[in-house]
Structures are given as C-alpha cells and as structure tokens.
Amino acid sequence: MMKKKIERKRGLSILLVVLTTLTLTLGGCSSKKADDSSTDANGQTADASSEVNGEAGSEDGTVSAEDLSQITIGIPQDIDSMDPHLAKSAGTREILFNVYEGLVKPDADGNLQPAIASDYTISDDGKTYTFTLRDGVKFHDGSTVTVEDVKYSIERNAGTDGSDPLISAFSNIESVETPDESTIVLTLKEANTEFLAYMIVSIIPASNEDPEGNPIGTGPYKFVSRSPQENVILTKFDDYWGDAAYIKDITLKVVANSDSIVMELEGGSLDMYARVTSAQVSQLSDKFDVYEGTMNLVQALYLNNAKEPFNNVQVRQALCYAIDPQTIMDFVSDGKGTEIGSSMFPSFGKYFDESLNDTYNQDIAKAKELLAEAGYPNGFDFTITVPSNYTQHVDTAQVLVEQFKEIGVNATIQEVEWNTWLDDVYTNRNFQSTVVGVDASTLTAYALLSRYGSDAHNNFINFSDADYDAALAAAVKATDDAEKTAKYKECEKILSEKAANVYIQDLPEFVVLNKNYTGYTFYPLYAQDFAKIKPAQ
C-alpha cells in the first residue's frame, strides 16, 4: 500500500515538472514587465528598476557611501549586446555612448562635435564627406586608431561584404576611401547633407575578432566585465583623448523589479536611476536630486491609416479634436510634459514647429460634426493596443478612452507584451491603433520623418500621401539648409493636417541622482554621459 502511495507521488511530481515547464513557457507571453522593453519605438526605456549590485556599497566592507570614486547606476534591463553595431535597444545605446565613439559625436545641445575625426568637410553637392583623423586617438587595448579601423567600421554597417546593411541608411554609401594615413573620404550615391549625423557610428578596431566578448572602443570608459541579468562594470579609460571622466568605476546594475527602485535608492544600493516615474519621485527623500528633462520621443495614438475607420481623414481629425494633451499630462505625470502637434519634438530646435500644437484644440462639437460627415454619427468602436511594459503609455491610453467617450467613440485597451507588439503592430501592421513613443536614432529630422513615406519599410501606420512623399524627397535632396528645414516643416504640417496620428506629447524624464554626485546632463537623443557625473564636493 505504502509502495503504491509513493509511486503515485513520484508520478505526480514528474507531472508537476512538466506542468511547471509549460506554465512558465506559456506564461512567458504575459509575464514580466521591465525586461523586454525598450527599443527605439518607445523612447522611454520603460519603467525599470535597478538594484545595485551590492558590490557597490559592500564590496569589501570598507567602501562606504562616502567613496565617490565609484558609482552604482540602476538600469531597467540588461544590455542587449556589447557589440555597438549589433546593439539595437535604446537602453543599450545610451550606455555604449560611454564606451564607443564615432568620427563625430553629439553634444548636449544636439550639435555634432568632431571626435575620432578632428575635422571634416562636406562637399557642396552633399555627396562627398572628407574626414581628418584625430592624431593619436587610442583604443582601450592601447593601439592607435587608424583609417583602416574607420573604413572597417563603416563598411561593417554598410554591408559591403554582400550582406544587408545593419543601418539601412548606409546603403547610400558608394565608397569609403583612405587616400592617406589620416584622411577618410566617404562618397554617397545620392546627395544627403544630413549624412554627417550617421557618422556617430562606433569605430572599433578592425583586428578585433570578438567585439561581443572583448569590446574595445575609444570612449571615456572601458569595459571590465558583465554578468547576464546582473551587472555591467566599466572603468575609466586613462588614455582618453578628450576630457577625462571624474568617476573611476561604474557598476551598471540590472534592476529587474521596478517596484524596488525607490527602496534600493534609499537603502544605498543605487546612486542613480534614469527614468523614474513621477510617483517614484514623490516617494524619495531629500538625499537625492531629481533632474528633469524630456524623453525625446513622439508620444501619440498611432493610427493604422489603412484600416477602417482610420482610412478616413475626417475620423482621424475627429479624434484629434476629441483629446486634450494637458489633461493627459496631468494624469500621467503630474502635468509635466511637452505638447507636440506632429512627429517632431522641441529638442530638434529649428525643425520643431510649435504652431502645429494648435492645429487641433479640444472641440467636442467639431469632432462630432466631423464624425457625422464621415458617416459615423453614432461613433464607432475600436481597439488601442499598448505594450504593457510602458506604464506611461498604458496610463495615456486610459485617459484617451475617457476623452473619446465624449464624442461617442468607444475605445478598448488591449495590453500586449513587447514582443507581441513588435510582431503584430510594428512588423505585421495588424492593429487599429497603438500608444507608443517613437524616438530618433540620429539627430536628423529624417530619422523621425522618413518613416511616413508611402513605401518606407518602417511606415507601420501605413500613412500614404503624395504631397508628403514629394516634400520628403525634396527635403532629402536639398543642399541648402534653409530650404531643407522648410521642406521638413512642410512634412510635419502635412502629418498634422492629415491627422496621421493623434499627437500628444514628449514625455518628461526624471533622473534621480544621489546628492553626493552632481553633473547629470541630458542629451537630445539616447545617451547617458557618465563622464560628466562628478562628486558633489
């Protein structure tokens, strides 16, 4: 009898394993927030959290909070690659900013400054870019950067070996020549005066066969070690050509549970965390400074312009009249945020057109009128698909649902996991509408606006407008800066007037830094400049 019982229990436990396995795998679809987030589509690297990896504070028992030669920074998810050319997520790029550099690099004002190149000239026709290599720039392994390394790095992204270019814009590269030991000449197939912005592409040594396992760059910090889902450790590079960093050792700690961010900051396990929510800010003690910036992304209710009823411009305009961005900001982030009226945000300076914020001001009567004209006098039902890991977007969608009720439109929120969003919404374009933030991978208006060209591969909203295509083509071709700017602004205006999407805001970004440190600097694109952080005294 007893034997039987035991047998049965054993069988049960095997069944248990199989079931646990299945539950885990299948449950994977819906579980877990922070880890999977962040790529460019959502500028905001989600709500992650970080837990400092105890090393920071208690490594050898004597290191106390007073030791300011090191800092522990929480990151929401592990970096996806140490190879700068394969790293895709925004959260990874902003960290690798410290390890790698391009011929030029952006400064905090959004201007491109010479980096590995000491100087450059662009031909008047916008086809030839000539770079002069800066003298004696060292790689982290001690070798000197040569023009061969530059040529290799650019060609690796351009896919000149027959593979597809890792950066699609690089398919425009005709050739990379190195006439002498300090000159690189880049020739384009078609004129593009904005191409300099792409020259932030990381320069890596041609001789390094394992950029993933043995990352070598030229930045102010060099790679020490990493442990998956645990941490990435960087240390100051002493032979850096530019302004030396202040802090010697940096531990980037993966914080998988966003609920523990505040506790870990207060408990001393973390010194810094970028992108906390306004609710988390309110829980922090005065041991911390909160830096406020913007996330540099276009948050909107993106509408599938090819699907009913959003293939009707009047319906799209009606939705634009139905909403009030300020109400959304009040609800989502205590009123912080910057209203936008098209696919452009203020950090882009001259390209941003504030007047487009007023293309539509909340007007319920007008919205109902447009709906009636479009043949929906009683409104309609539709679905808003939101990646569940982005709290701010989910919150925004909730306010939108309420605002659309006013005009008789019933929206239902469908929360999906990030991978599902990438597949269904972004890649297969099988959706009605979605709330996300779209950011720019380079400091060009092109990066934000090219995706709305009728046949752009990343035109996930299926926007199609002949005038827009013409204006975009003219903007790309223009070599005169004023003309170029004017054409891009025309593009923005078309997006706004045709109500391609229901534009909302550029989300606010809160960075928490322990008061022992200072100097956090915001950039107009994804970059966390650790070299500027210094001890407060």
Binding site: S13, D60, S81, S168, E212, P228, K253, S260, E264
Partner: protein
C-alpha cells in the same frame, strides 16, 4: 541492474517529453528572436538574413532534433540574446540558485523536524495549539508575499538588510550567504510549516500502532520508543514530502529571486522566455527537470535505508 536500467530509461523519456513540450510551447506563442533582436530597426531583409543565419527557417522538428542531438552531446548552444555559450552563462548562475535552494532546505529541516517531534510528544499541550495555529497561518502566506514583508520589515524598518544589496559569490562569499538568508527563510517557512504538521500527524499515527505498544511493554522509555521505533516509520511520508519540497524550492526561487533582486537562474529564465531565447530556456528547464528526477531517485534510495521492506523495484 534491471531497476537502474528502467530508471534511466524513464528519466530519458521524461526529459525528452519535457524538452519537446518546451519547444512546442515556444512555437505556439507569438514573438520571434530576430524581430526582438532588431526591434524597431528591423528591415525585412535583415530579418530574413538573420533567420537564415540562426537556422530559424528550418521546420520545427528539424530544429528540435538539431538541438536535441547537440544537447545530448553536451553542447547547449549559444544564447540568441547574449551571443555567448549557454553552458557558461548558466554555470555562472547555478551556484546562486542552488545555494538558495539548499539553504531553504536546511532551514526547513532545522525548523520542522525538532518542532514536529516536540509538538507530537506534547500532543494537545499549549505549544501544540499555538504552533498548529501559527502553522496554519504561515502555510497560507505565499513566499512572494512573506518576501515583501521581510524586505519591508528587515530592510526598511530595522535596516539590518540592504534591499537589492546582493553580492556575488565570486566577490565575497560571506556577504553572499548573508544576503541569501532572508530569501531562504521566505521560501522555507511555508514548507517548514507543512513538514511540521505532517511529521506531527505521522508520529501520532505511528505512536498508536501495535508495534509501539509492544515496544513500551518491553520496558522501553518514551524517548527510546520515539527515536528508535516510531520516528523511523514516521519519517517516510516526511521524506517524500521533503523531496518534493526541494524540487519545489527551486521553482519557488523563481518568484523569490524577483522579489529580492537576486540575479540567479530564475531571472535568466524569465528574461530568456521574454526574449524568446530558446537555447537558454531549454537548457534551464532541462536542468530543473534533471534535478527533480535525481531528487526523486535519491528519495527512493533513502526509503530503502529507512525501511528495507520497501521494494523500490516494481
């Protein structure tokens, strides 16, 4: 000999079924490692190129058998996400999760056996009642919740514990163990409560049997009867339970590692599922399955030691 052969065969079969289930489950859920890898910068060409490169275009069964054959040869493949060998990645994390599970197990044993015997010996005493009530409460609190309470109480109020202050075992072993104590307690508590209850019931049941009366009639003292005769028999269901509990503790650590911010196997498992990193998920699940099977085998062997009458062979 026949027994061992049978056992090994059934283990292999179980592992085969488990691994196939994981593979099939992955083919059912949306999401793809390549689209995930390039995110919003994916182009159809890049996706096609990398799918080909990673062998994802082959039919499911072909991929499965390719994975299976290399797995039995000891090659767990390369992580899609980290682009490093899975074996090394997991080897680095196993000590963390295993230490946590073993610590939980030890805590469970240390609490439940003495306590179970004590309250069985003093059946219906005050302590028996108090502990039984406490047991009932502790059993109904899931570890993730007690984990949060523990973090809050010891970390935020008493400040004897630094939330998120995990220290890697390679850095400082003492601090590593110290950090794991509270998470281990969180995992162990409900299991200890169950084991205590089980042992109490089992001892009381055995104490009422004929052989116990015989033992007493031969002039043995209470303690001698308890420790020499009753306990041995009473331990059998408890050992079964503890074997299962050990397997369950590894599963339980999945939640607890999240709550306490411990970067062990579980976190890798969860992120790999999210990232559709099949090689890593397969390897970890197989590891857990093997472990459970081995624990079962050990439990069988322990039965024989406790009670030679139990035939393990069927």
């Amino acid at each position: 000999m026949r027994y061992i052969l049978k056992k090994v065969l059934s283990m292999v079969l179980t592992l085969f079924v488990v691994s196939l289930c994981v593979f099939l489950a992955f083919s059912l859920i949306p999401g793809d490692p390549v689209t995930r890898m390039f995110g919003t910068e994916a182009t159809p060409e890049l996706i096609a190129q990398y799918r080909e490169k990673m062998g994802l275009n082959d039919p499911l069964l072909v991929r499965y058998f390719r994975w299976f054959t290399s797995f039995i040869q000891g090659d767990m493949g390369t992580s899609y996400d980290y682009k490093i060998p899975v074996a090394g990645m997991i080897a680095e994390k196993i000590p963390i999760t295993l230490t946590l599970a073993i610590m939980s197990f030890v805590i469970m044993v240390l609490i439940s056996i003495p306590l179970g015997i004590y309250i069985a010996k003093h059946e219906n005493g005050i302590m028996d009642h108090i502990i039984s009530i406490l047991n009932q409460i502790i059993m109904s609190i899931p570890p993730f919740f007690s984990g949060i309470l523990i973090t809050f109480f010891f970390g935020v109020i008493l400040r004897v514990f630094k939330p998120g202050g995990f220290v890697s075992y390679t850095k400082d072993f003492g601090a590593f163990i110290k950090y794991l104590i509270l998470p281990a307690v969180a995992i162990a508590l409900p299991k200890a409560a169950m084991a205590t209850k089980l042992l109490r019931g089992s001892v009381i049941e055995e104490a009422g049997k004929d052989y116990t009366r015989t033992a007493y009639s031969r002039g043995n003292t209470t303690n001698a009867v308890l420790y020499l005769h009753v306990l041995k028999n009473a331990m059998i269901p408890v050992v079964t339970f503890m074997g299962m509990a050990l397997a369950d503790m590894v599963a339980g650590s999945i939640v607890i590692e999240q709550v306490f911010g411990i970067p062990g196997i579980s976190r890798i498992l969860l992120t790999s599922i999210n990232n559709r990193d099949y090689p890593v998920v397969e390897a970890i699940i197989m590891g857990i399955a093997i472990m459970v099977l081995v624990i079962n085998l050990l439990v069988d062997i322990i039965y024989r030691i406790i009670d030679p009458r139990i035939e393990v062979e069927e």
